[in-house]
Subunit: 172 residues, 2 copies
């Protein structure tokens, strides 16, 4: 039942690009509205749970053989996410969520990404002193800043400037 | 009248650390509640206007003579801001604001900060090719990410790691 409700929520979200109504999720999943409220409390809680569940299984970590290209790909994926209706909505929902969910969201989205740096360190391409989690955070944080706060454009030019600055710090 | 209302809103915010009530702002400023609603629409709109107005006049740009120290000071100021009840509230309010206000907020808080880099470039300390606005954005974005999204600690250790990575990119 849980899987059916989560899938219905994400399907409806994907179809309309907007937060679905609990009644529509219930119909699609073949459950009672009341059991959704009992388990998830609100449509926001349900959508966050659904998104976390999918992210834990489906977020690909780039592995092109080049750490520079891996980081560039990570930024391109992040920009595509923030530009999508789903990603823009998720970023806004997560700000309103309790801290435990916010931490889980971050871990699900980026917990594995530091392996890009770890692999390059194992291959001897970059110094073992490089602060891998911070590098990932530095690449991702400006996407959230632009998406949530400043509204500045998230485009290819910005991706290039960002990756250029961060790889410069790492390769020194 | 405008100045009195803005000052009353920020005073009350500073005293309680919470979004004030329109009625309390009206009493403190000696105006009618209705004129506040007419002009600002809501308490959120009023507080944002008050904060922008103060920031435009009061945000100091560090000028220690050392660009590394200036950037470190900028990050320390930013961390103090996000850890304060006022700053934490502002960050959350701004996410809900219309894009025009969000851009104005960003400009008021950081529009001048790129002069830190420009001064160092004039002194010949760092390359004229350095992307000054991006450097500021890279130092500030992780503070918003931690404050709004991940809930990870904003402490001295983090400030040091952040400044270290960014100055490494710039000084190359």
């Amino acid at each position: 039942v849980r899987e059916a409700v989560l899938a219905a929520a994400l399907d409806l979200l994907g179809e309309t690009g907007a937060l679905p109504k609990v009644i529509d999720v219930a119909k699609r999943a073949g459950v009672q509205k009341s059991s959704i409220y009992r388990r998830w409390g609100s449509i926001e809680g349900l959508v966050l749970d659904a998104a976390l569940n999918r992210m834990q299984h489906e977020i690909p970590i780039p592995d092109t053989g080049s750490w520079r290209e891996d980081l560039a790909e990570l930024v391109r994926e992040g920009i595509a996410f923030h530009r999508s209706p789903f990603g823009a909505m998720m970023a806004r929902l997560i700000v309103q969520a309790p801290e435990s969910l916010r931490r889980a969201y971050w871990k699900a989205r980026f917990g594995q990404s530091a392996t890009i740096i770890a692999r390059a360190q194992e291959r001897g391409e970059i110094s073992s002193a490089v602060d891998a989690p911070l590098v990932i955070e530095m690449l991702v944080a400006p996407l959230y800043l632009r998406s949530l706060v400043t509204g500045e454009p998230l485009d290819d030019d910005f991706a290039e400037r960002l990756v250029d600055l961060v790889t410069r710090a790492v390769s020194k």
